[in-house]
Amino acid sequence: EDKVVQSPLSLVVHEGDTVTLNCSYEVTNFRSLLWYKQEKKAPTFLFMLTSSGIEKKSGRLSSILDKKELFSILNITATQTGDSAIYLCAVEQGNSGYALNFGKGTSLLVTP
C-alpha cells in the first residue's frame, strides 16, 4: 500500500532554534513531493520537489529530496512564533489522476 510518513508528529521548540521535519514515502510511479504549511485555515504551498539533491529555498525555509532513499526534509532556521503551524507533506503519483497522497502532518509550536 502506498504511504507517506511524516516525523515527528509534533514538536515544540524555542524561538531561534533550527528544526528539521522529515517525510518518507513509499509510492509507485512517483512524480513530485510537495510541502504545505497550514495555520488556522487553508494549507498554503511551500515547495514542490521533483529532482534529487536540488535544494529549494525560501527565506528561512529550505527543502531537499532524496529519490534514492525516498525521503525529503524541510528545514526552518531561526524559528519564529509565526512558524507555528501544521506542516504537511504530500506526494503526487503519475497514475493518481492528479490527486495528492498526504502524510499526517507535523505540528510545530514555536514558543517565545
Binding site: 510537495l34 485555515k41 487553508a42 494549507p43 498554503t44 504537511l88 503526487e92 490527486a99 495528492l100 499526517k104
Partner: protein, 113 residues
C-alpha cells in the same frame, strides 16, 4: 491570485440530514478535490473530479457523493449525515498541467450532532 471559496466556514447539522458543501474556484482549473482532515489521520481524499460531470472515488468515498455540473463548482453531498462525518472538509483545485500544485479553500468545519 487563485481563489478557492468554500461556502461555509462552520456548519452544524443533525444526524440524518442531507448536507451540501459547496466549493467554487476562479482559475479555470480542470481538477477539483474534496479532502477531510481529522486529528491524527491527516488529509484523506474523498472524491475528485478532473472534468465537468466526471468524478473519481478517493480513499474514503463511503457516505459521500459529489456533483460537478460546471467547471468552477464542485459540491460534496452527505446523503444522510452521521456523527462520524464530523470533520474539517477541505476543497482544492489544480490545473491539468504536469507538476501543478493544489490550491486549497479555507475549509468547512462540519459538526454532526
Amino acid at each position: 491570485d487563485v481563489k478557492v471559496t468554500q461556502s461555509s466556514r462552520y456548519l452544524v447539522k443533525r444526524t440524518g440530514e442531507k448536507v451540501f458543501l459547496e466549493c467554487v474556484q476562479d482559475m479555470d482549473h480542470e481538477n477539483m478535490f474534496w479532502y477531510r482532515q481529522d486529528p491524527g489521520l491527516g488529509l484523506r481524499l474523498i472524491y475528485f473530479s478532473y472534468d465537468v460531470k466526471m468524478k473519481e472515488k478517493g480513499d474514503i468515498p463511503e457516505g459521500y457523493s459529489v456533483s460537478r455540473e460546471k467547471k468552477e463548482r464542485f459540491s460534496l453531498i452527505l446523503e444522510s449525515a452521521s456523527t462520524n462525518q464530523t470533520s474539517m472538509y477541505l476543497c482544492a483545485s489544480s490545473s491539468h498541467r504536469v507538476n501543478e500544485k493544489l490550491f486549497f479553500g479555507s475549509g468547512t468545519q462540519l459538526s454532526v450532532l
